[in-house]
């Protein structure tokens, strides 16, 4: 992948459509982000990722197996923090599962815009304050929402896989690829927080940010991955301590 410095190239001709942008971000990120930055349209990509996640979650948690998987995930999550799930807590969790399909569908629709807005705000502010770089926030937001194309692929990959194996644990973490790691250890917990699609998404975000602020992708990606590593290590430490 070549690094280009200098101003983003202006796109000549018609701007690509939503589908072309989402696919292009995955296959030709730099060129696609150049087109996105040139004419930022964040809401189409945001709607697509929200809709895809809502459909996937809504379908999965409307099935009996999906509900049981969700229940197990909730119990596992609680027990990770060293809390023993009592029979009463279990019964309460089970009652709450009745409408899990609807809540799960609404969840991404509500959370995705907020999360992407926050991420875009943090990255944009960091460049503005620390580096003195200037770019329209709308373009930054468009970069973040289009990087979310990875989450569409993620849903298409993990939801069927989870349904087949009957588990809700994230199958694409580094920890999942190393089953020989002992459960609950610091290494296992840390690697359990390193997820491959997130790594991909951070890379796309770095590419898009580089295009937007006319900077090299490498340092930006390194910064993103360093922050991600710090979060994973801190989370792994806390979870391994709490989980016993």
């Amino acid at each position: 992948m070549t690094e280009e410095t200098g101003a983003a190239r202006r796109q000549e001709g018609p701007s690509p459509g939503l589908a072309a942008r989402l696919v292009g971000v995955l296959l030709s990120p730099r060129a696609t982000f150049a087109a996105i930055v040139d004419r930022p349209r964040p809401f189409g990509a945001l709607a697509a990722t929200c809709l895809c996640a809502a459909i996937a979650a809504g379908w999965l948690y409307n099935t009996e197996l999906g509900r049981q998987m969700l229940l197990e995930q909730q119990i596992g999550g609680v027990e990770t923090f060293g809390v023993t799930v009592t029979d009463e807590m279990y019964a309460e969790m089970e009652r709450n599962l009745e409408n899990a399909g609807y809540y799960s569908a609404i969840g991404p629709i509500v959370s995705f815009p907020i999360v992407t807005f926050i991420i875009a705000g943090l990255v944009w502010t960091a460049h503005y304050v620390i580096l003195g770089a200037h770019a329209p926030f709308k373009a930054m937001y468009a970069v973040v929402t289009h990087a979310g194309a990875v989450s569409i692929v993620q849903q298409m990959f993990t939801v069927p896989l989870n349904y087949i194996r009957g588990a809700m644990t994230v199958p694409t973490t580094v920890s999942a690829l190393l089953p020989m790691l002992e459960e609950g250890t610091f290494v296992q917990r840390t690697l359990g927080l390193v997820e491959l699609f997130t790594v991909w998404q951070l890379f796309l975000l770095a590419v898009g940010t580089g295009v937007l602020f006319n900077r090299r992708t490498g340092p930006i990606a390194t910064t993103f991955y360093s922050l991600y590593a710090v979060v994973a290590i801190a989370g792994g430490f806390i979870l391994s301590r709490l989980g016993g």
């Binding site: 992948m1 998987m69 690829l177 459960e183």
Partner: protein, 448 residues
């Protein structure tokens, strides 16, 4: 990016994706709680019934007084060893000795009176002979008409008078003989009463209790009145442990069973013995317990006596002890750890086989297992005793028929096989596990 590099990148992503799918579907990391397991083995098992109790001598004699009076001599101490017939104490003998003296004097007087009566009999006989001789003479002279009729009749009456007198004297002698026997009996009784003031040891043994001091006044002993017991002598050559066995254990206890007795005062020693007596009546009947402290306030126990095989130097009656009675022995049986045993509600089919139930992701009990309406024809719900067997990262509940219970292991009559890994702990996990739960196994070396 060139087309070839892009193709390589896409191929790498596809391979990575395939690897993710393969690993997730093939390997399953052990999850769930960490549990200890132990392999089922064949073991020598002993069923032990433990019961607390006290040490008692086989033969114990309470010494009481047969007469009342003040103790004038006391020649034994508590803990002293005594032999049969050894003098223990004397109660003031003066009154009874006087009675004996009176009896002897009365007997002597009666014998003198008898001798006097015998002399009067002799006199009466002589007088009778003289009267008869006189009658014979008067009768001859009356035939010659040399004496008057009056003299002849007087001689005749005199003989009759003397005969009567002799009979009276003979009766008097017989009466006196009876009086002598009476006096002899009185004297014998007085002498017997006198023997009661001297108390000797009826058995060889050790004085285990002395309740009297010299100068104190004793009263006649009666049953059920411990206050009249002057001393207790115990034969410590044969020691018994009197223990209280719970009603749930008593059916398995039989005469002749071997036992090991531990005395609290000798914690480092164990003493062997044999069950020689089993009570048929409860020591603390339900009615008595209810009256004393409310219904169910006390366990119902039965007295069991274990006779120890040998004398124990330094033992004292009343020492607390514990008897471990061996009620059954299995030299080579499948053994499961006691702490692994648990109870779960299962569904049985018409043949009595367990029907696997669909439970929640962790098989928790709150997941409605099988309600009455869900049961198929012939199925029934039952609580069964069993163990969790670790199989492929999961805990499988297996009902087990148990036999005797040893100190740490149950005898498994059915349900498990040699080598099965039984979940033994921690206790909280054994209590909470459900059939099918994921577990992480930590194998523990079996205890010997």
């Amino acid at each position: 990016m060139t087309a070839s590099r892009k193709a390589v990148l896409i191929a790498a992503i596809v391979v990575l994706g395939a690897a993710v799918v393969y690993i997730n579907l093939t390997f399953e990391r052990a999850t769930g709680p960490e549990v200890e397991v132990e392999a089922v083995e064949r073991r020598y098992l002993e069923a032990i019934v433990s019961a607390p109790g006290t040490i008692v001598p086989q033969l114990t004699v309470d010494i009481s007084a047969n007469t009342m009076g003040q103790v004038t001599r006391l020649e034994f101490d508590e803990g002293q060893r005594v032999a049969v017939g050894d003098f223990l104490l004397e109660i003031d003998p003066e009154t009874l000795r006087s009675a004996v003296d009176r009896g002897e004097a009365a007997l002597q007087a009666s014998r003198s009176a008898q001798r006097q009566a015998e002399v009067t009999v002799q006199t009466a006989r002589v007088n009778l002979e003289l009267a008869r001789d006189n009658l014979e003479r008067q009768e001859h002279l009356w035939g010659l008409r040399l004496v008057s009729r009056e003299a002849y009749e007087q001689a005749l009456n005199d003989v009759a008078l003397r005969e009567t007198e002799l009979q009276a004297r003979e009766v008097e002698v017989a009466t006196q003989a009876q009086r002598i026997r009476q006096e002899e009996a009185n004297l014998e009784s007085a002498r017997y009463e006198l023997t009661k003031v001297t108390i000797t040891s009826p058995i060889s043994g050790v004085v285990t209790r002395r309740n009297i001091e010299e100068g104190e006044t004793v009263v006649v002993g009666t049953m059920n009145n411990q206050g009249t017991v002057l001393a207790t002598i115990a034969d410590l050559s044969v020691i018994e442990a009197e223990v209280e066995v719970d009603e749930t254990d008593i059916p398995s206890v039989e005469l002749g069973q071997l036992a090991t007795v531990t005395i609290d005062a000798f914690p480092d020693d164990e003493f062997s013995g044999v069950v020689t007596e089993i009570g048929n009546s409860p020591i603390n009947p339900v009615g008595a317990g209810a009256a004393a402290g409310g219904a169910g306030s006390q366990a119902t126990t039965f007295k069991v006596v274990v006779t120890l095989d040998e004398a124990i130097p330094g033992v004292r009656p009343g020492f607390t002890c514990t008897a471990d009675i061996t009620t059954a022995i299995r030299p080579d049986s499948l053994a499961i750890p006691i702490q692994a045993s648990t109870v779960r509600e299962v569904v049985l089919d018409a043949s009595g086989n367990v029907v696997p139930q669909e439970t929640g992701p962790r098989g928790r009990s709150v997941v409605p297992a099988a309600e009455a309406a869900d049961l198929a024809a012939g199925e029934s719900e039952e609580e069964l005793e069993g163990v969790f067997v670790a199989r492929e990262g999961r805990a499988a509940f297996v009902p087990v028929d148990t036999g005797i219970a040893g100190e740490r292991y149950f005898e498994a009559l059915s349900g498990v096989a040699e080598g099965d890994l039984i979940v033994t702990g921690p206790f909280s996990e054994v209590r909470n596990l459900a059939d099918g739960d994921s577990i992480r196994v930590v194998e523990r070396a079996p205890r010997r």
